[in-house]
Amino acid sequence: MNAALEVMGLGFTFPGRTSQALDQINFTLPTASITVVAGRTGSGKSTLLRALAAWIPRHSAGRMTGSVTVGGLDTRTATTAELARTVGLMQQSIDDQLCATTVAGEVAFGLENLALPVDEIHGRVGAALARFGLAGFESHQTRQLSSGQRQRLLLASLWAMRPRVLVLDEPLSQLDEQGTAALLAELRRLRDEGITIVVAEHRVDQLLPIVDRVLVLEGGRLVGAKPQAMVEAVTVGSPIAGGPTIVAAERIAARYGASSPPVFSDVTLSVAHGERIAIVGPNGAGKSTLLKVLAGIMPPAMGEVRWCDDEAGRPPVGLVPQNPDLTLFSNSVRDELAFGPRQLGLDEAEIARRVATAADEFSLDDLLDEPPQGLSQGQRLRVALTAAATLEPQVLLLDEPTIGQDPEQMHRLFSALVAAVEAGRIGAIVFSTHDAEVARRYATRILPLPAAGEGRGEGGMKRVPTSPPHPNPLPQGERGTGGALERLDARVKIVYLLALSLVSVTVDSARALLIVGAIGMAPVFALRCGWRARALVVGAIAATIWGAVLSQAMFYSFEPRTPWMTIAGVTLWREGARYGLLQSMRLVATTASGIAVCLSTSPERLLAAMTRLGSPATLAFLVTTAMRFLPTMADEWLAIRLAHRLRGYRFRPWKLAAWCIEAGMFAPLVAAALRRATTLAVSVTTRGLDPRAPRTYYDPPSRG
């Protein structure tokens, strides 16, 4: 047998912990095989995968014992480039692993790290994109792809590096049935090409038809070579029907923007007391959007949602979003659970009762004084869910609560939810899931949401509307295209900007300043762009001139000078205003030209030009990474505000406490982003980024 992967006596302990995350793991995997690693949440699957991909012990703090040999390389001694050529790692969250902003740039990233010649990179990028059905997408922003396409892009990026081993962490967790089938076929093809594949997955049953071997982890130990049913198939609680209706939605439709196709249409739904409704459907069917409409966050494009009066005066909804981390912002679990009831204006005794009941129901008693953001993934979900449950809402909405949860965790969670519903503390539950099995086990009613025909990409994936790729005030499409200025090499534009600014600060005569100002504004006229972009340029120029006029009218100190006007006791000088108008030409020259350059060149192209002109590569990496974070941060900021709103919070600027809460919203945003930073760091490192090694720079095709 030709071993592709050999693990001997592997153990690992995280820093500050005494118990081992991995303990005496031994196995050997043959070339061209598929192995599934199964186990409960927290059993050590992801840790094992990171060890196989050499992140552990090379970059992770902690103590490793034993050895891992991948493709004949000892992960402790091989170089980063050698390992990147041998083993590829795909982690759970696809979005957090994408290193570049464009599709071609993403595939090229790892190849650049290997310092391959540009021509070879060009060939491999083309071959990888064609192989994974993404040819023609080279210049697309990665954010524009559907989730299925992004997963294929990441696979293409790893495949382009020609690894012998591919390690995938829960690749099925966010895929619908169609997407799952497509991925399984892809894995089979990769195995047939001679690649050894290791997959960590909760949904083992779906992988069984293609796998060669199953490893089962429990408490960091390898306990078996076959999967075991971790939870018996059960139905929790008893179906309840005929309770009074809480909310009814009639023939509702939803769309993001007036010109976009409907996400779903003609949906009728009523939720009665005691019900547990599962909304199922393929990726992009609009499950999350339906929850938003029910929550009142998003108005329906058609139809109406009617809430029935609640005699107890309870809040209508609690919502737990897909990423529950964004709802956690307090210093302790206790404060987190008390936040919602406090916003409802309840007295402290009632708040304490709700916190105690919920903590007991959801098994959080031991964690009440812990900071929520410091808990494990499963615990964080439980806290977010419990925090929503303490509102004791009429309907609790849960968006994909099962992602990343093993069957046992899920069972515990749903048992607590069912108990709360049966005790009447929560009126009803509506949850979305792509897992039909979960719906069958835990719901009293299943609402299938069919895929709408419009706006869908291949593989059943929809192009989910998101915020624009960059927080540019210029909307997409406002940037100019096709004109002479747009076609000009970005390096020429940068040099022009620098030269113009240098000239503008060296000339002094009035005539020279006016000429410099005119030259600076010239590119604006050569620009082909929309009216909003033009309005922005004109506004910026006007504000620049007026600001200079006002400040110099105030501070002008040369004599003679004559008063122009007096505002609030401050004299403005006529000569100063004239002086300011003239001197503002220096600023106008650089401001107008700078904006024109930005409008005529995409940020990616400008950045590539700066790198080619000699700006440090570290800077290019930092800027690219920052650009990747920008849209995510905008989305998350909105999600955090939403989570606050749904827990009863209203911003009251005259209250100091409100400002403290506003500042506190910053914490989950940064904490979530820091977790992303870690995932991204693992991704770039396992794709060969070595701070000390030379790199090649490939300038992928880009638009604009």
Binding site: H59, A115, P371, G374, D489, R491, V492, L498, S501, L502, V505, D508, A543, W546, S551, M554, F555, S557, R586, L587, T590, S593, G594, I595, C598, L606, L607, M610, R612, G614, S615, A617, T618, L622, V623, T625, A626, M627, F629, L630, M633, A634, A663, F666, A667, V670, L674, R676, A677, T678, L680, A681, L689, P691, R692, P694, R695, D699, P701, S702
Partner: protein, 218 residues
């Protein structure tokens, strides 16, 4: 930009070799964290520029006392937080440089004056942070759940001073390069209020937040 098959035509004018400038020895995780904080700083500074334009037209030079909260206070908060997460020399420089490039890419704020300003800013920050021991000693490296009051005061004062010097340097550069005139009282009060005042408060909050984040998210 490279054409599909051949070399870009402007390559001849910019003959830079392909394999060069190896990435500086920052760990990837540190680079990702710096990029993240820089992205936040950029969002704040961009919004501040847009709001600043409006405020300048209304308040004139006095607008700096309002925009200073976003221009000096919040960046100080973010920088202090970043220094807690990565207390080492060079972090402030990379963070400031990243924000500068983002501003250039999205707003066109490029040019010799901007380069001069960012250069001064980087030198001032790195020098004062190193001289005060914030990036050169174990002051922020000691694992503690909360910072000592003395540490908060020290970091707040140093970052506030950095910002004060920056504000002063910015106006001095504006006087020198753009020939603008400013009264001495204005320069000093702008430096003290927006730089030292807002900067110190921002840094103190950022330090506490950084410790909290280090405990829960790193």
């Amino acid at each position: 930009m490279q054409a599909e098959s051949g070399k870009p035509s402007a390559d001849a004018a910019f003959p830079i070799p392909r394999s060069r400038f190896p990435i500086a020895p920052l760990a990837p995780e540190q680079m990702a964290t710096i990029a993240l904080v820089a992205a936040m700083h950029f969002v704040v500074s961009y919004a501040s520029v847009l709001a600043g334009m409006l405020l300048w037209t209304l308040l004139g030079p006095l607008a700096v006392f309002v925009t200073g909260i976003a221009d000096q206070g919040i960046p100080c908060l973010l920088l202090a937080m970043l220094l807690v997460l990565i207390p080492r020399v060079g972090v402030a420089a990379w963070s400031l440089a990243t924000v500068f490039v983002l501003n250039t890419l999205f707003g066109g704020f490029a040019g010799v004056p901007s380069l001069a300003y960012i250069g001064v800013s980087i030198v001032v920050h790195e020098t004062l942070l190193a001289a005060s021991g914030i990036t050169t000693t174990s002051l922020l490296r000691v694992p503690r759940p909360r910072p000592k009051v003395a540490t908060v005061l020290r970091v707040a004062l140093v970052l506030g001073l950095c910002k004060a010097v920056n504000v002063f340097a910015q106006f001095t550069l504006a006087k020198l390069l753009f020939r603008f005139m400013f009264a001495d009282w204005y320069l000093i009060s702008a430096s003290l209020v927006t730089g030292l005042g807002y900067g110190s408060v921002g840094a103190a909050i950022g330090l506490v937040l950084g410790y909290r984040l280090r405990r829960v998210a790193v």
